[in-house]
């Protein structure tokens, strides 16, 4: 039974997708109900997987493997470890909340859900694949629907001094991501060839003892290739443009999950290219730190509310990259926690920005004012997200960033200090933003806006619940990933040191 849980987590969205596909158009309520029902089951399955994993910590309990293509001995191999269990939970949460938020969409709802669920299938697949080929297969699959999701259902950013169309955002995102995947193609093809294991399984590649000379050459391909999706500076510019142009729920999935695929990919490639990782991590540390500072400074300069959140994502992904770059247990664990924390937090941010935009039809920070009066609940939730973002203790961001800073401090104190400065800048722009749009005198235009409705409130509360839960009981999240990260760092990285030494 258990070996079918992981395929099931893909099958449920596939069935939902097919069900929606075969319902005639103009049956919006039915389509919405099916979408919500499907995402609810997926969410519960994800929760089940996470809880079961964290209770047993048995790496093999969900193993599923079949031969898919004999010529290349590609296996469809699913499995779960602490990191992917947490990520599966993240996908489940964001999928469910995003679906609820999307029910507001009125135009072409059927096609929207088909593409949206396709995106979800892609991200689920990445996190449960134990085979490099399928990892990449699902990774690319997640990119496929993005263009249409943004270009058809997105919104333009139109300011006097600055305007970007949604088509621009969509095209840029798509081309940059596919360009970066060229690097991953090269990496995968040559790794498979050099490893000479006749297998794409991560474990086989990791045990292949790939020569360190080759690792040092090829690791940057994976690092940059995946890094682009993680918003690595200076290849990050697609991400704010894409986030802003995307419709709310797609922004949630995109900033909340899709960018994590990049970080997760780097983590995975450390496993089979440890020597390359050791050699190049200084670069990731520097670029990650630039991400933090540059992203925060850019966020400060934005006028469009969604761009602020978009750049703050770039900045926060910088912490993830810094954490990964430490290659020690505490930093890497921090990076994984931050992936989860930021995923939840940014999803909440985008959901609330969607709520505000829906009511005011403006995302201009200059014109929004005193929104806490008419929209008390939405405002409160926004403040919680903001406080998470600047790392207030008791909320999820604090634990993650603390771990990362400790980890970075052990490897490079200077960068750690810069990272803390980045957190301070974050505090400045987040507090300024909150002060400007929620507090102060409310202008008459906004005085009679309706507050958040129930369909928007449920997802926001779910997200907030997890933020707070991780803030006050981080142990539930740290323990399951701890073992996996230890295994990764202590076995692969240290083993390699021994070999070299």
């Amino acid at each position: 039974m258990d070996s079918w849980i992981l395929p099931l987590i893909l099958i449920v969205p596939v069935v939902t997708l097919l069900a929606i596909l075969f319902i005639p158009k103009n049956n919006d309520p039915i389509i919405k109900n099916i979408a919500i029902f499907g995402s609810l089951i997926s969410g519960l399955l994800s929760l089940y997987i996470f809880i079961t994993y964290s209770q047993t910590r048995d790496l093999n309990q969900f193993d599923f493997s079949i031969l898919w293509l004999s010529n290349l001995s590609i296996r469809l191999d699913f499995g779960i470890d602490g990191v992917s269990a947490l990520m599966v939970l993240l996908v489940g949460i964001v999928y469910l909340t995003g679906t609820l938020i999307s029910c507001k969409i009125t135009e072409r709802i059927k096609e929207f859900f088909v593409l949206y669920i396709l995106l979800i299938i892609g991200v689920y697949g990445v996190f449960i694949s134990q085979d490099l080929f399928f990892f990449f297969f699902f990774y690319e699959l997640a990119v496929v629907p993005m263009y249409l999701l943004i270009a058809v259902w997105g919104s333009n950013s139109d300011f006097k001094t600055f305007s970007r169309t949604k088509e621009y955002g969509a095209l840029k995102l798509m081309l940059v991501l596919v360009a970066s995947s060229i690097l991953i193609w090269i990496g995968i093809l040559s790794t498979y060839f050099v490893a000479n294991q006749n297998s794409f399984l991560f474990t086989d590649l990791a045990n292949a003892n790939i020569g360190s000379e080759f690792q040092i050459i090829i690791f940057p391909f994976f690092l940059i290739g995946f890094g682009v999706l993680a918003g690595l500076w200076p290849f990050h510019t697609w991400s704010p443009d894409g986030h802003v142009a995307a419709p709310t729920s797609v922004s949630m999935v995109h900033a909340g999950i899709l960018m994590k695929l990049g970080a997760y990919g780097i983590l995975r490639s450390i496993e089979f290219l440890p020597a390359g990782a050791k050699e190049w991590m200084w670069l990731l540390l520097i670029l990650g730190t630039i991400n933090v500072i540059y992203g925060a400074l850019s966020a400060m300069a934005q006028k469009d509310l969604k761009y602020v959140i978009g750049y703050s994502s770039v900045s926060h992904m910088g912490y993830v990259l810094m954490g990964l770059a430490t290659l020690n247990v505490i930093g890497t664990a921090g990076a994984v926690l931050q992936m989860f924390s930021h995923g939840i937090m940014t999803a909440l941010f985008f959901a609330l920005v969607g709520v505000i935009y829906e009511r005011t039809h403006s995302r201009d920070i200059e014109t929004l004012d005193g929104l806490i009066k008419p929209m008390g609940i939405a405002g409160t939730l926004f403040v919680i997200a903001g406080l998470t973002s600047l790392g207030l203790p008791g909320l999820s961001g604090f634990v993650a960033e603390l771990f990362i800073f400790i980890g970075v401090f052990q490897t490079n104190p200077f960068m750690a200090i810069l990272g803390v400065i980045g957190a301070a800048i974050t505090a400045i722009y987040i507090l300024r933003l909150i002060a400007r749009i929620f507090f102060g005198t409310v202008s008459e235009k906004w005085a009679n806006l309706p507050d958040i409705n129930i369909l928007e409130l449920i997802p926001a509360v779910i997200l907030t619940f997890f933020i707070v839960l991780m803030g006050i009981l981080p142990i539930y999240f740290i323990e399951p990933i701890n073992e996996t990260v230890k295994l990764l760092i202590n076995t692969y990285i240290s083993n390699f040191t021994d070999l070299v030494g």
Binding site: L67, W68, L69, S70, N71, L72, E111, F133, F137, F138, E140, L141, V143, V144, Y147, L148, A151, V152, E167, L171, M174, L175, V178, A179, I182, W185, I186, L189, S190, Y192, F193
Partner: protein, 502 residues
Amino acid sequence: MENITNNLSYLIPEILIIVLGFTIIGVGIFTRVRNKFVLPFISVTGLIITALFIYYKFDFGNIQTLSTTNHNQMDDLLIYGGLLKLDSFSLLFKFIFIIIGIFITLMSIDYVDKYINHEGEYYGLIVLSIAGMMIMAAANELLTAYIGLELLSFSLYILVSLGNDPEKTNESSIKYILLGGFTSALVLYGISQIYTELVKNDILNPTFFTSIGTYASQYENFPPLFIFGLFLLITGLGFKIAAVPFHTWAPDIYEGAPLPIAAYLATASKVAGIALILRIFSEVFEGSHSSLIVIVAILAILTMSLGNITAIAQTKYRRLIAYSGISHMGYILVGLATDTVDSYSAIIFHSIGYIFSSLVIFSVLVCFYNKTNKDNISDLSGLYKTNSFLALGITIALLSTAGLPFFVGFISKFYLFLAAVAQGLLWLVIIALINSLISLYYYLMVIKEIYVGTPINEQGISTNNLEKFIVVSSLIGVIGLGLYPEIIMGAINSAAIAVRIN
């Protein structure tokens, strides 16, 4: 030792096809058939019977994996003193040609009804050209291959000239006949050079691939006349698959030919060229001549890059598809430069994937053209609103050709490139990957028109069940093979082994 037989029963598929072709032409000429479904029905039924015959008679489903390195030559049959070779390679390709023929015939029904007066000739020549391609795939000797090539080309000359836009059709049919005839002459001249060279050296059966292979393997550097002959031969084949620099005909001809015939040129005729190229390369250039591989690699780079870069600037969808088809031949040439069993397998797989996605694209376009009579990419604007089914179909096919999962284009490119990297051709693969990115750009531009653009004419475009059936069944190929390629890998592997290890 290989089996040699003169038993006519092995030629039954070809005979069936030729009889079928003449029957259709005859019925078309001597009876005034008014129903548009009669001739296609005869044609499709005949083709299906032939396909089933091939499938059951020749134990086509016999599965081999690539680990079986020793090809059992007892499986091969040489017919008529070795003029034709009946192995899993030729059988697979015959099967492919017949399937394409069925699709093209079905796709043409409304088009022929609307634009073309010579129904009988149209459907009959498609069937006859299949016979030509079947001979090409089975040929074991240069002159037989040439006859197959000519049978195909002559049918195509007429089919191309049946187009409905007088101005463009005249231009393109004359161009095709002149260029095609010229290339045929070159090929024939090349064959004569090779023949002379072999006869001079007292080699038996001088036009047989195996004899040419034996002759070639004696030399480090080929004698000049022999090189000249080969060069002309390559030119002819390059013309057939529209590889740069022999590609210029393709966009013009696609524009003037009837749209289903453009689809036929893009799929069947190219794949027949690929089949012949694979056969000649594996048998003649056995023992890999490095200089030749460099030439193929250069052709591959030129073909991919020129095809893709020129495609960006196109405003007419037929020309866009023509150039994108050219660039796909570039990927095939990457596989040819790799020259291993794996890469042969990958080439065949990629071709099949290419066929299916092209069929989807063309069947959608034929549908569109029948209803609107428009030729520009910008006319596709807002197709999503006028017919979301066609929009979805062509989008999937375009994304598949761009190499995105879960469509067949992804795994076929992955396989092709992996085979190339295994032979140390990483640099070539990198160029191919960059080309994939470029192609994604112009496909996205088309997709953008379809989904984001506003329709010029709000009127919906209707599709009947037949059109839906064609699009859906070729889409099943694109998606099904992308999700589970293993299903045809057995047949592909046996074909690749049969042709590469001999």
